[in-house]
């Protein structure tokens, strides 16, 4: 309850309109978490793009004479292997850098695919109700009853290993997350008076769904997408941990964790490095999502 509401009118009438885009960018940069998280993600993207240029060694290059060297700072470390090597003499740092390629590709594409599929179904189910909603809801319920890991194994087994299979697997499994949330949010928004107002003005139902309701569902969606990116990275790691992701040649964080687990007592860094990378990446996605939502939502800008 604004106690100074009476002064508000004059202020609003007198002030110049804010510049929307500049305001959003400024709001974005004003949050430390966005700056750090966003910066970190950009850094990872950069690494993924210029991996061949920046990685100190070829990630596939085995040198059995340089096996299980510890990271820099520990006794026995070698200068050229900053994070040490694994049991086959491969440079951990280089493999880590190359691993970002798979991780980020999966993160962005799988999350987008899951979001697209789930959002469309959720929007229609929430807005039209009736038979459409019944079908979609039953589908979601049945789908969610399948154990996700088994389902993904099945999909990868059918499609063969590779990044595409992983992306398809994640999208096919996780769309339900989006569908449920978007459906609930759509149903809530559909009750609002501004939807009735649009109807009274003569707008068609499809137009109302995409012009009025979708922008109001977007903030929730954005948060969910960045969350999903973090999940996708982890799922990929799990799949490559069990050897179902890309071929064992291409370095992936999950694969590194799997290998590292076996030699954890001799060379703990092979296990710890990708784990730390995984942790940092997922954390960054979550923080970025939260910050983005706050900055871009004009209602929350207040």
């Amino acid at each position: 309850m604004a106690e100074v509401a009476l002064n508000h009118d004059a202020a609003v009438a007198a002030g110049p309109p804010k510049h929307r885009r500049r305001g959003a960018a400024r709001a974005l940069l004003a949050q430390p978490k966005v700056v750090f998280a966003g910066g970190f993600i950009l850094f990872l993207i950069l690494l993924a793009l210029i991996a061949p240029l920046i990685a100190p060694h070829d990630p596939l290059d085995q040198d059995l004479l340089s096996g299980t060297l510890p990271p820099a700072g520990f006794t026995g470390a070698q200068a050229s292997y900053w994070l040490g090597t694994d049991d086959l003499g491969r440079d951990v740092l280089s493999r880590l850098i190359y691993g970002t390629r798979v991780a980020l590709t999966v993160a962005f594409v799988a999350a987008a695919a899951a979001a697209l599929l789930g959002t469309v179904l959720g929007l229609f189910a929430g807005f039209y109700g009736g038979a459409v909603d019944a079908i979609v809801s039953r589908l979601v319920e049945i789908w969610m009853a399948f154990p996700p890991v088994l389902l993904s194994i099945l999909i990868v087994a059918i499609m063969g290993s590779g990044v595409t299979s992983v992306i398809v697997a994640i999208a096919i499994i996780d769309w339900t997350r989006f569908a449920r949330v978007v459906r609930a949010e759509t149903m809530a928004q559909a009750k609002a008076d501004y939807v009735v107002a649009a109807r009274v003005l003569g707008f068609g139902r499809l137009a109302i769904l995409f012009r009025e309701i979708l922008p109001n569902v977007a903030p929730v969606l954005l948060a969910l997408v960045t969350l999903e990116m973090g999940i996708a990275v982890i799922v990929e790691a799990i799949l490559s941990f069990v050897g179902l992701s890309v071929s064992s040649d291409t370095p992936t964080w999950g694969g590194m964790i799997a290998q590292g687990r076996q030699i954890i007592y001799q060379a703990w860094w092979v296990f710890a490095a990708p784990l730390a990378a995984l942790f940092a990446t997922v954390l960054a996605f979550n923080q970025l999502g939260d910050g983005l939502r706050r900055a871009l939502d004009p209602v929350m800008q207040r």
């Binding site: 309850m1 604004a2 106690e3 100074v4 509401a5 009476l6 002064n7």
Partner: protein, 294 residues
């Protein structure tokens, strides 16, 4: 002349979130024992702020810059937190505006009614329950025993408000603050609730501060009233005077802007700009005088 029960003297407050814009400007008022005092004004005038200041529940952004609120010989603004809790639990009660959100939906009515009794009067569960039943009878609740065991969502809005009134009077407080208690209710129920509040007030000899923006309610139920605009007192006095012979142009304009079902097709006159300008000038002059004193 009997000493006032509550005496607010020269209360001023600012909103720290709005660059220290004033929200209350030198407000003074006195409430005698057994008096129903109306705190009237439009939204943003500051009436809720004063009520919250008395109850000690001002939001974080509001800061009191001067003034005292004397109740029972003590200044409420200078009390320690625990002293204030004790005072407010037992001597000042609140009838909140929205009966829906003021009750905990997960607890039965009986439990919520006996809370205060057991906490502040230390009565046993059995005794508290008896008293709660008696109170529900006082507020003319049908089937009080059933209501005791019910959850809030099982009652109508009017019934919930009666429960809140019962809760307010449960500890026999000296002062009850009613914060627009009829706004969320149907018209016919509103009259019943007003009647009830007046009846309870007369029976217990309690003083009531009635916060409202409705001049009709003030006319019918308040003995005296204070009319606020932009945090400043515009006019104050016996209700009869305010309603039948208002002095201040703002009061007069407000009366003229009230629609009345007993008057044929009137052109509702919004408060004339001249009157608002004069009021604002009054407020600005006050601010300047305050500023020059530092």
């Amino acid at each position: 002349m009997s000493e006032a029960l509550l005496s607010v003297a020269h209360l001023s407050a600012v909103s720290t979130r709005d660059g220290n814009a004033p929200v209350l400007r030198d407000v003074s008022l006195r409430v005698a024992r057994g008096e129903v005092h109306g705190l009237v004004g439009e939204s943003g005038a500051g009436k809720s702020t004063i009520a919250k200041a008395i109850l000690g529940i001002l939001p974080g952004g509001i800061r009191i810059t001067q003034g005292t609120i004397m109740l029972g010989g003590r200044d409420l603004l200078t009390l320690e937190a625990h002293e204030r809790r004790r005072l407010l639990g037992a001597e000042v009660a609140l009838i909140p505006q929205d009966p829906l959100t003021a009750l905990n939906p997960a607890r039965r009515i009986g439990a919520q009614l006996t809370d205060g009794l057991r906490l502040w009067r230390g009565v046993s569960a059995r005794a508290a329950e008896t008293r709660a039943l008696a109170l529900l009878n006082d507020v003319q609740m049908r089937e009080p025993a059933r209501v005791m065991r019910a959850y809030p969502h099982e009652l109508s809005g009017g019934m919930r408000q009666r429960v809140l009134i019962a809760a307010a009077f449960a500890l026999d407080p000296k002062l009850v603050i009613a914060d627009e208690p009829t706004t969320a209710l149907d018209t016919t129920v509103q009259k019943q609730i007003l009647r009830l509040i007046r009846a309870m007030q007369e029976r217990h000899g309690t003083s009531v501060i009635f916060v409202t923006h409705n001049l009709g309610v003030v006319a019918q139920i308040c003995d005296r009233a204070t009319l606020l605009y932009m945090g400043k007192v515009m006019e104050q006095g016996a209700t009869r005077e305010l309603i039948e012979a208002p002095h201040h142009p703002y009061t007069q304009a407000l009366m003229a802007a009230c629609p009345r079902y007993d008057r044929p097709g009137q052109e509702l006159e919004p408060i004339p700009d001249a009157v608002l300008a004069a009021c604002r000038a009054e407020v600005i002059a006050f601010d300047r005088a305050g500023a020059s004193h530092g």
